[in-house]
Symmetry: C2
Subunit: 433 residues, 2 copies
Amino acid sequence: MTAHAPQTERSVGEVADVAAYMVGLGQAARAAASQMRRAATGDKNRALLAMATHLQRQRSEILAANAADLARGRESGLDAALLDRLALNDDRLDAMVEGLVQVAALPDPVGEIDGMHSRPSGIQVGQMRVPLGVIGIIYESRPNVTLEAASLCLKSGNASILRGGSEARDSNAAIAACIRAGLCDAGLPEAAVQVVATTDRAAVGQLITMPEYVDVIIPRGGKSLIERISREARVPVIKHLDGVCHVYIDATADLDKALAIAVNAKTHRYGTCNTMETLLIDAQVAERILPRLAEAYALHDVELRGCERSRAILDGISAATEEDWHAEYLAPVLAVRLVDGIDAAIEHIERYGSHHTDAIVTENYGLARRFMAEVDSSSVIVNASTRFADGFEYGLGAEIGISTDKLHARGPVGLEGLTTRKYVVLGDGQVRQ
Amino acid sequence: MTAHAPQTERSVGEVADVAAYMVGLGQAARAAASQMRRAATGDKNRALLAMATHLQRQRSEILAANAADLARGRESGLDAALLDRLALNDDRLDAMVEGLVQVAALPDPVGEIDGMHSRPSGIQVGQMRVPLGVIGIIYESRPNVTLEAASLCLKSGNASILRGGSEARDSNAAIAACIRAGLCDAGLPEAAVQVVATTDRAAVGQLITMPEYVDVIIPRGGKSLIERISREARVPVIKHLDGVCHVYIDATADLDKALAIAVNAKTHRYGTCNTMETLLIDAQVAERILPRLAEAYALHDVELRGCERSRAILDGISAATEEDWHAEYLAPVLAVRLVDGIDAAIEHIERYGSHHTDAIVTENYGLARRFMAEVDSSSVIVNASTRFADGFEYGLGAEIGISTDKLHARGPVGLEGLTTRKYVVLGDGQVRQ
């Protein structure tokens, strides 16, 4: 063991005064953020690669900690989906190591200067990209999020405070030890990444109400968690609410493309936020495309719920209710509605959608242009699957989440979303007249 | 009178159910925002120029309404500074008209697409600049803010709800009539700009807690107003708190430049947020520069409050207390402190500053570079006056305020700060593998 070899967190779940403990983390994070703001790119990358090394070395310890979490989870009756999200194995650990290597390879956004130009007064003005400061991340049972969040906050020069789900407490403590060891190896402050060591729920309440120590909160998890945090936070929140995503097949659509896109957008994965939940079809082409779609969906056991007019074409599908248009199924269920043209489609999307991701399939230039301009969603797509709305697919290199907010970051959030821009002014003695 | 000639607001101060009234404004604004999102640049510019015409035509009515506000203000004992901010005259009206013409001439940020590039999957991805939606602006007694805020929100494709101070209610109603008339002339929805017609304070409480109708709140005014709004808002706030700005004169500074910058940063205007409040001087050059500075400040009747070491050089200046380092004087008072090098200067700025605007005067390349990277303020300036931290000086063409927040917009906020970017994806039938 080297001097910096990771040790298992001793204090898991054993904090007496939660508020004081969280304030302590906040103060340490604030101090670390000052150092991280000026950290060299090379040191940040060295820390990330050192974490990867520690993760490799501590593989059996991490899997043992995870086994303890899983055993406790089974005892307390967690369902199979939750246990699956909680579970680590060699493949998942390999992916975590690979993720660290990838983040180390990304360009450092900090210090980038844009738009430097001369003003009539003689000064030059530009904007420099800088870290946000201290980022609080609140997530649920997946322990790999601990490492993902830590690596992205670190690379973008921020200090982070990570609060994972209590189900993953031992796994997170073991991963946290590797993170700390990596920071030490690179000479960066240990408090640059702090994993909350208590499972007390009061820790979350404290974390989201310390604007003096925390600059932004990013919750990752179910809708109720995010709604609660948004309601109670005194710190800005970058949030990700639901994805009620649409595909609209226009009358001029290439029907082969429409078929491929509509099937992929629904069936590629059911549980993701960029999965299509409602399919809108121009009534002019419904008779030609709906039977083909129904056949394809049947192969995937997707249940269709249709409007009156679509049910007149497709025998035996159930009727969609008002609730179906609002639904984020996250399941092999699809609402189908015929509409008369693009105005009706956009109106439906504006009324029922969640401003996440919406797509049009069309060969008409004007309609493509209108859909792009007028649909107010974080991703607007022409002739491709909604499933592309993703940080990796967009080339961000990494993703901390998808923002459904309008301010600051909208859509997939990568390293850039974890930074801000300040103005820099270069002069030569200029004064204001 | 034309069909669209402005009429004086009838309902000033006479709203029975404030909450219902504000919800009505919110719903109308949300509907108008959908139309404004797709409004043509030409129509927006036409509306701005038509407002200028109506303002010219209604000059005497506006001045009469303002006279009524001023008379009421004098009766209720408003102080001279407040009455001055409230007062309109021909010069100020000319400036308002000119402001509209300037905003019409600015490039339209809406629809701009950045970074469009091809991905290995075959899709192209870029980001399109779009309006935020509905913006609520809360301000105090200056009636010209009504027009400024309306014009910037309009040009950036947003709907706005404007709540000015009750002292200016008649002036604001008269200006609102011109705004509505201009919107009508250009065929844009009247609800694109709504001036709250009740002076009931409950209107503010309602406006900042309707996230379903309002996307962002921008408060303009004193610190207590902004703190209250930040505390109570359920809608994101772009806020401007205090400006405790510093100039640091390094040992390598050109002392003539240092003198000019330090004098300008303090004395150009006392009441502005980018005015220097504390001067930091490297102890190595203090004996050479401090007496010259003291002489210059004496000509402007600026009171100096110094640290022990500066008082040893300058006879008879009073001692600065801990409070002075925190103070935003907004007055001809300046705190002066000698420091030993850049680390001590940055430490002072980090501890006492407000992250607004800070400047270094230096001829040393490495120190200039360090100051720029390490000082965490919305504007960081090398060898120029802090007074340059301003939307017009930076070339934004207009300014809705200066943000001291880190998220979304930091520093002077122009049209771009009133927009957001969504992802646009162009494909040709691509599906996710």
